[in-house]
């Protein structure tokens, strides 16, 4: 739905009668009625009253009327399938109005406005992103404000062609080759006509006399001309094909490279919103689609248009009456059979889609072989498989049968045009108004026409598909860099590692804050432990510190410099991360350790591994430091992976170090080794550590206890223990579960 900026008249009247002469400061429109069905409700902050109403007849119906002074806070409650704007009234949450996910953005803004009003702050007026096209109401892409329907397709095409601009000489050459090729293609039927009329079946007295005298030599010349034209045509065709193949490949290579480069710099927010599969399909399918249009589609389009013009010119010169007779049915058949083609396309699309689903089922089953065997679920797997396979069978039979039926019918219809020519042209020929040569040339030309005509009837659909692929690619290329975009300029000589969070509020979706007004400081070289239940916001603090995201409100400072102003590459160069899920890539152990510092010498790598308690196990491997770790390091144990990541961090020599649950899922001895390695790594660096085992945070200088996105306690271990607050109760719980673990083994 599109969002209106004004209250409907009936609601205006209602507001005016409820709160006379009040200024309406906030307006919101919901897409659900009070009964929860699709409908309309309006929220207005009029004067100091919050009114929710429904347009109804002359004056709207009032549903809720709250004094603003009763409201202490406004937030958004996530429901199943939608959300509700709610207000805290005297300690109790009251739902003001529900809305579907289509309006999350709109209500995110309204929440901020109402919340500010309730707290007596000035009402902000953040810009609202356009989510639907103002003209046609179609949903826009997530990172684009360009409507795929209303945007001029020409603009996309021009932009696509701009990628071909560096190769314009080759493009012009291709065009010229096409023109010559088409002209040469028009020759054979004409030569055939000459062959028949002058040599084989002369129909006038002079022609007969000429044939008797020079027939054989003329025959020789004509056949030679036929041969030369077809050889030449073939040569030109090969030349042209080779150029277009190169051109299409090169342009889509350029686009793919631009896309991949962009993917490296896109913000985390972008990746949160787009599943990996969708991004991969941009790189593979969509760029393939673009290559199709450039390498095959456009040349094909141009040759076909030239052919149609050339052939029409020829047949009209030979005999315009017969030309009309032949062309009209040809055009009718080509346009009339369009639905058949569409049906066939749809059938094949359905088939390919089911093929994909079949593929993923088999892939999934093969990845779970062990699980299937362990639970002896072969029979149920076979049933699941059977359903999917039958689905595929049906789709394939339907597609092939449609093809098998439609295609012969199409040929029959196409052939009907030439039947007309045979009949009426035959009559003309018998009556002597048309030579046999003309008739044969005519049939030859007609045969050249159907392909291009058919192509033209589908060209709209086909171009639109290809341009959609191009649009999807450009959508990524145009996506904002988000936090990376505002690249800071400041490159400090030295980062000491003093960290400050000042009034930071942040949510992965802006209307759902995960961190609320978080402030704390960490001295350089100190270790800060982050404590809290899962989902409390610990990892979010880390994400902001790494600047994977920017704070929505407030700022983060490093050595007193706002993180937004700091050069990202300089900062990240001094930031080390050891995560719960160790991230390794398919390469050797040495390459994995040196990932953040490719220029490191092998001895440095070994020294780092030694410090991380990794050297011993590495050298024990068959290929030592040259051992391949496999995809995501699957050939290594959890503890080994962890220590490689620590070695990497050691080599990186960061000023600010982040440790996230580094000792989860390992046995005691390994944990001991990892702890040792970490203790060496932490020495002298600002460290942020998250650990579920609170005992591992005992060495931290300070602990930050986070609860529901807010800082509830801050201080050293002993301070917080004495305080007997949240940390103390967590510690208590921790002791008990450790005891259960110890007893349970």
């Amino acid at each position: 739905m599109s969002i209106k900026r004004e209250l409907p008249e009936s609601v205006q009247r209602l507001v005016a009668s409820t709160v006379p002469e009040a200024e309406v400061r906030v307006i919101a429109q919901s897409d659900l009625g009070p009964d929860g069905n699709y409908g309309e409700q309006w929220l207005a902050l009029a004067g100091d009253r919050v009114l929710v109403s429904e347009p109804d007849g002359q004056t709207g119906k009032l549903i809720l009327d709250l004094p603003l002074s009763d409201i202490s806070e406004v937030d958004i409650e996530a429901l199943i399938g939608g959300s509700a704007l709610r207000a805290q009234v005297k300690g109790r949450w009251v739902r003001l109005v529900s809305f579907t996910n289509a309006l999350s953005n709109h209500f995110g803004r309204v929440r901020a406005q109402l919340d500010a009003a309730a707290k007596g702050k000035p009402i902000p007026d953040p810009e609202e992103k356009l989510l639907r096209c103002a003209t046609c109401n179609l949903v826009l892409g997530e990172d684009t404000q360009v409507c795929p329907q209303c945007s001029r397709r020409g603009a996309t095409l021009r932009r696509l062609m701009s990628y071909a601009r560096p190769y314009r000489r080759k493009l012009i050459l291709t065009g010229v080759l096409m023109l010559i090729g088409t002209a040469l293609g028009l020759l054979p039927p004409y030569l055939t006509k000459l062959l028949l009329d002058r040599v084989l079946a002369p129909n006038t007295v002079e022609a007969k006399a000429y044939a008797a005298q020079h027939g054989i030599s003329l025959l020789g010349w004509l056949v030679l001309a036929l041969a030369v034209s077809s050889v030449l045509n073939t040569v030109l065709q090969i030349w042209r094909n080779r150029i277009t193949a190169w051109l299409g490949g090169k342009v889509s290579f350029d686009i793919r490279a631009a896309l991949y480069e962009k993917l490296q710099w896109l913000s985390m927010r972008y990746y949160d919103r787009h599943p990996t599969g969708a991004i991969i399909s941009r790189l593979t399918q969509d760029s393939g689609g673009v290559q199709d249009i450039l390498a095959f589609g456009l040349p094909f389009l141009v040759t076909n248009v030239i052919t149609i013009i050339g052939v029409s010119a020829m047949v009209f010169t030979i005999n315009w009456r017969l030309a009309l007779l032949a062309l009209v049915p040809a055009v009718l058949v080509s346009t009339g059979t369009r639905p058949l083609w569409e049906k066939m396309h749809a059938a094949f699309h359905a088939f390919w889609y089911r093929w994909g689903r079949y593929h993923s089922l088999v892939n999934d089953a093969l990845n779970r072989v062990k699980m299937i065997k362990a639970f002896s679920q072969q029979p149920s797997e076979l049933t699941r498989y059977g359903v999917r396979n039958t689905d595929l069978l049906n789709a394939s039979v339907y597609a092939e049968q449609t093809w098998g039926t439609v295609f012969p019918v199409l040929w029959l219809l196409i052939g009907s045009g030439s039947l007309l020519v045979w009949y009426f042209g035959g009559i003309m020929s018998v009556r002597g108004t048309l030579t046999i040569g003309d008739l044969m040339a005519f049939l030859g030309y007609l045969g050249m026409l159907y392909g291009p005509l058919n192509f033209l009837t589908q060209v709209v659909q086909w171009v639109s598909r290809a341009l959609t692929a191009a649009d999807r690619i450009f959508e990524v290329l145009d996506a904002e860099f988000d936090s990376e975009q505002a690249k800071g300029e400041i490159v400090p000589d030295h980062i000491r590692g003093a960290v400050e969070f000042r009034n930071v509020t942040f949510g992965y979706e802006k209307h759902h804050p995960v961190l609320k007004d978080v402030s704390f400081t960490c001295e350089p070289g100190h270790m800060l432990g982050l404590v809290g239940k899962s989902g409390a916001g610990k990892s979010t603090v880390i994400n902001l510190l790494c600047r994977f995201y920017d704070a929505d409100e407030g700022d983060v400072f490093i050595d007193g410099i706002n993180l937004r102003d700091l050069s990202l590459s300089a900062y990240r160069g001094r930031l080390g991360v050891v995560l719960q899920e160790p991230f390794l890539f398919s390469a050797t152990i040495a390459e994995n350790i040196a990932y953040g510092k490719p220029e490191a010498s092998f001895e440095d790598i070994m020294a780092a591994a030694k410090l991380a308690n990794a050297h011993e196990f590495i050298v024990n491997k068959q290929d030592g430091y040259d051992e391949q770790v496999g995809e995501q390091g699957h050939r290594l144990s959890a503890g080994e992976k962890q220590r490689l990541c620590i070695a990497r961090a050691v080599l990186h020599d960061p000023a600010v170090l982040i440790l996230d649950e580094a000792t989860a899922n390992v046995d005691l001895e390994t944990e001991e080794q990892i702890q040792q390695a970490i203790a060496r790594l932490v020495e002298g660096r600002t460290t942020f550590a998250i650990a579920h085992r609170l005992s591992t945070l005992r060495n931290a200088d300070n602990l930050l206890v986070v609860e529901d996105g807010k800082v509830v306690e801050f201080g050293s271990h002993s301070e917080l223990e004495e305080k007997k607050g949240t940390y103390y109760s967590l510690l208590d719980l921790h002791r008990k579960t450790s005891m259960v673990e110890a007893v349970g083994g």
């Binding site: 659900l32 929860g36 069905n37 699709y38 409908g39 996530a78 429901l79 199943i80 399938g81 939608g82 509700a84 009234v89 109790r92 949450w93 009251v94 739902r95 529900s98 579907t100 996910n101 289509a102 999350s104 989510l131 639907r132 109401n137 179609l138 949903v139 892409g141 795929p148 329907q149 599943p275 599969g277 969708a278 749809a346 359905a350 889609y353 359903v387 639109s464 598909r465 341009l467 959609t468 692929a469 649009d471 999807r472 239940k533 989902g535």
Partner: protein
């Protein structure tokens, strides 16, 4: 408000509640309460469906306030609650679950990558845009299809074979 220590037994077994022991009411202050027998009263309880798709009216979980509120018990047949409690639970469920069922598909246009669709649902008519609908569909069980539109809303077709012919034909063009 519920309080008291949690024994291991309570942590490991489900607790089914007798509908006759459960009372839900709204106090004059506006607060919603649920009492379970004589033993406890839950302030601002939340009612969640255990199987919102397969069997929305069986197994209602009564939970504490807040998204991390713990479960106090499960109602197997909540319709046997007294009328006032039932009305309040129904109201709470209706407000929380904005579940939409597609009843008919009236028209469908494919713009190559974007499909615009005019639907008739149990919550009224709705114009919907799907983006690459084949990437945003979930097949659940034998005949259930869940479609997600470009704005993050979900639409349920509980039994695709039960749709009318035209709706199925339109759907088969994009699925």
């Amino acid at each position: 408000m519920a309080s008291g220590s949690v024994t291991p037994k309570e942590l490991e077994t489900l607790r089914y509640l007798d509908p006759e022991q459960v009372k839900v009411y709204r106090a004059e202050s506006g607060w919603l309460y649920a009492t379970i027998g004589d033993e406890l009263t839950v302030l601002a309880p939340r009612f969640m469906r255990a199987r919102p798709l397969a069997d929305p009216n069986l197994y209602i979980s009564i939970r504490g306030a807040g998204t991390n509120g713990k479960e106090f018990g499960l109602l197997r047949e909540w319709r046997r609650l007294d009328p006032e409690s039932r009305r309040l639970v129904q109201q709470e469920l209706d407000e929380r679950y904005l579940h939409v069922r597609i009843e008919r598909i009236l028209s469908l246009k494919d713009y190559g990558g974007l499909q615009s669709c005019s639907l008739e649902t149990d919550r009224g008519p709705r114009e919907v845009t799907f983006r690459d609908v084949r990437d945003n569909v979930v097949y659940s069980g034998a005949a259930r299809v869940l479609l997600s539109d470009a704005e993050g809303n979900r639409y349920d077709i509980p039994d695709i074979t039960a749709l009318d012919r035209r709706s199925r034909a339109l759907l088969s063009r994009i699925l």
